[in-house]
Amino acid sequence: MNQSRDTILLVEDEPNDVLLMQRAFQKAKLFNPLQVVGEGEVAVSYLSGESPYGDRGRYPLPALMLLDLKLPGMSGFEVLLWLRQQPGLKRLPVVVLTSSKENTDINRAYEVGANSYLVKPVAFDDLVSIMERLNHYWFVLNERPEVTPWF
């Protein structure tokens, strides 16, 4: 199955995590184009197609967003709160990927509209296996909604 057109938007501020994620994507044979932004505000700009993300050819709307919760400035929770209020865009499936296992974070993430909540594992091999399953679930099994820009 060719899923190469489905972009994944990774919202992650820690460069080491970004590098490891990219590597895990390769190992898990997840060949979807990966767009990375390091701040909540930038994720909002990207999703709403504000400059410099106006060109949807270069910056396509993602089919899935991988969202860290702890970000400088606007947090992952706030990104979710914003997203779920955008007509059309609000259907975008969001998988939270964070290092926090605290119940308060987990509950809050679901309250504000996360579709899944995953904890970053310490062992890299575990990250690879999580990405394999994520690929299988969200891009093979899961039926996807239409995600459209609202403007």
Partner: protein, 342 residues
């Protein structure tokens, strides 16, 4: 024995009576002092209110008898309208309440500091750990050809050490959480609980070729299932871990009643613990051996001790080097105790 609160009511009533009879501020201050004393003795707010009303009713009754309706009504009016004595009594428990509130706030402060601490530990401390592990693993995976055996060994050691630190952090978090979680004591069947734990540990026990015998009479204990499970797992995995090389682990789990307690024993044929170290094995991160001979984080028994303390029980060990160890847990017998108070 004289009931102190009856005595207080009597004195308090007398003081108010004296005040109504023209005793002046001194009588009122004395009533106030008595009210304070009652609060200091642990009288609750509601009790204090009924204490006051009781005294008031008596003063009214006495005045009615001795001085007639007009005077009694005057006394009643005085109390209900001026509210001064009431205010004075209440000042006593307002002070006590404020103190309670203060210590409650301090507790909440400590608690939220602990939450923040564990958040930092789980969130921030683990991030660099993930990176250390991930990049060392990347070296092993992608540059295996370029690395000589020594370099590979080093990278492998980094991976292992990061994994170990992760277990330590996880255990420390579990231990910390154990101090904060809400404990729910319920009657539990000892036999089925031990059975469940043995099933959970089946792989581990099989790997060690352990022989486990269970001799538990049908007894119910009061405990928190999740915590008790964790404690038993820790005791059992220690029992099969600390054996001399080449010795097949043999564990005997038994239980006996004694008064309101049920004592659960976990006996092993392991290396044993010298008397002088039998207390310190229960400390956090206390290890008696190097991690190469006996791997582990050194928190298992600390969790057992904290867990049993939270459930109001006791733990101990009887052991001698080379003679095996016998750990015991004293748990409350379910039938023997009243329903747990919430």
């Amino acid at each position: 024995m004289k009931n102190p609160s009856d005595e207080l009511v009597r004195q308090y009533t007398a003081a108010l009576q004296e005040y109504v009879g023209g005793g002046g501020e001194a009588a009122l201050s004395y009533a106030y002092e008595l009210g304070r004393r009652a609060v200091a003795e642990g009288l609750g707010v509601l009790d204090m209110v009924s204490f006051y009303h009781e005294a008031l009713a008596k003063v009214f009754e006495n005045t009615l008898k001795a001085e007639g309706t007009a005077q009694a009504l005057k006394a009643k009016e005085f109390f209900t309208e001026s509210l001064t004595p009431f205010e004075m009594v209440h000042r006593g428990f307002r002070e006590a309440n404020a103190k309670l509130h203060e210590s409650n706030e301090a507790l909440q402060q400590t608690n939220s500091e602990l939450e923040a601490f564990s958040y930092t530990v789980s969130h921030d401390l683990r991030a660099p750990l993930r990176h250390i592990q991930g990049f060392a693993q990347a070296l092993l995976d992608d540059y295996s050809q370029q690395l000589d055996p020594v370099a590979k060994d080093y990278a492998y050691r980094i991976v292992t050490a990061a994994g170990r630190m992760d277990s330590l952090i996880q255990d420390l978090l579990d231990y910390g959480r154990l101090g904060r979680v809400y404990i729910r004591l319920r009657p539990l069947s000892l036999l089925s609980m031990v059975g469940d734990v043995l099933t959970q540990m089946d792989d581990e026990l099989r790997r060690q070729d352990s022989r486990v015998t269970v001799e538990i009479p049908p007894l119910e204990v009061l405990g928190d299932l999740i915590i008790l499970d964790r404690m038993l797992i820790n005791l059992l995995s220690n029992a099969v871990k600390f054996v001399p090389v080449g010795v097949r682990p043999e564990v005997r789990i038994s239980a006996e009643e004694s008064g309101i307690w049920v004592r659960l024993w976990v006996r092993d044929n392991g290396i044993g613990i010298p008397v002088e170290q039998q207390e310190s094995v229960f400390e956090v991160f206390r290890r008696l051996h190097d991690s190469k001979s006996y791997p582990g984080t050194g928190i298992g028994l600390a969790i057992v001790r904290k867990g049993i303390a939270r459930m109001g029980g006791r733990v101990g060990v009887e052991s001698a080097p080379g003679k095996g160890s016998a750990f015991w847990l004293d748990l409350r017998r379910a039938e023997a105790s009243d329903e747990p108070k919430s």
